[in-house]
């Protein structure tokens, strides 16, 4: 919902969409915050995977499967982040293609 709000407020700013009385900053902050949180979570899975591999190679943790699962989790999170980025870029390009 938040991204739709931010897009429509952006449309309002360019004067193409419905005039938006709501200030654009709060909507952008809401979505930006969401994005930041998910990026932080994504970074944490990467750090977890790094630490698991390091532990395994240094002989601290001999749990092979935990390491593999951490790496897989990081892979899925990366894929997720990629999809979010693709969606954002798509939305941005759609906006930039608007005829003025």
């Amino acid at each position: 919902m938040n991204d739709i709000a931010s897009i429509s407020s952006a449309l309002g700013q360019t004067g193409l969409g419905l005039p938006e009385p709501q200030p654009a900053q709060t909507a952008a902050g809401g979505f930006g915050e969401l994005l930041q949180t998910s990026l932080d979570r994504f970074a944490r899975t990467q750090t977890d995977a790094d630490r698991a591999v390091e532990n395994l190679t240094l002989g601290g943790n001999t749990d092979i499967h935990s390491t593999m699962i951490a790496v897989e989790k990081a892979g899925i999170a990366l894929e997720m982040a990629l999809q979010v980025r693709n969606k954002l870029l798509n939305a941005y390009e759609t906006l930039m293609r608007q005829q003025i």
Binding site: H65, S66, I69, K73, I76, E79, Q83, N86
Partner: protein, 145 residues
């Protein structure tokens, strides 16, 4: 996230089967051991598993209380086989008793091999479950493509 719950549960299954495998290795390695710190021959060891609710947030704890959450497996305790030790006639053995019998461990190699197959297959099943959960997550991400 639900996907991570499934991974966590399967991971506990992998740990459980690995513990089982470790005990089978110990049983096989000590198949001829007549001396232990507790005295007497080695006794066959076995693990007892129990279901434990997935640890997590309050919502998960509530679900676990209602019996709706997936349960991890954890080793409850390691027990010793109570079957009597085998008696082997070997008068020259230093651990032989007055009648010349040595008390050997109550480990049956064939039984251990069968348990090993079972542990390996269970491990594979858990790995397959992890792979399926991962594939489902990646398929879900393909919706956006």
């Amino acid at each position: 996230m639900d996907l991570y719950d499934a991974l966590q549960t399967s991971s506990s299954g992998l740990s459980a089967q690995r513990l089982r495998m470790n005990l089978i290795s110990a049983n096989l390695a000590n198949v001829n051991t007549t001396r232990t710190p507790e005295g007497g021959p080695y006794r066959r060891k076995e693990v007892v598993f129990e279901a434990k609710p997935n640890p997590g947030a309050f919502r998960d704890a509530l679900k676990a209380h209602q019996g709706k959450a997936p349960a991890d497996v954890q080793a409850s305790k390691i027990i010793e086989d109570t079957r009597p030790p085998l008696q082997k006639f070997a008068p020259q053995h230093p651990d032989a008793d007055a009648e010349g019998y040595v008390r050997m461990p109550n480990v049956n190699v064939m039984e251990e091999m069968v348990n090993m197959i079972s542990a390996t297959r269970s491990y594979e099943a858990n790995v397959t479950a992890i792979r399926a959960a991962k594939d489902m997550a990646l398929k879900a991400l393909e919706i956006g493509k």
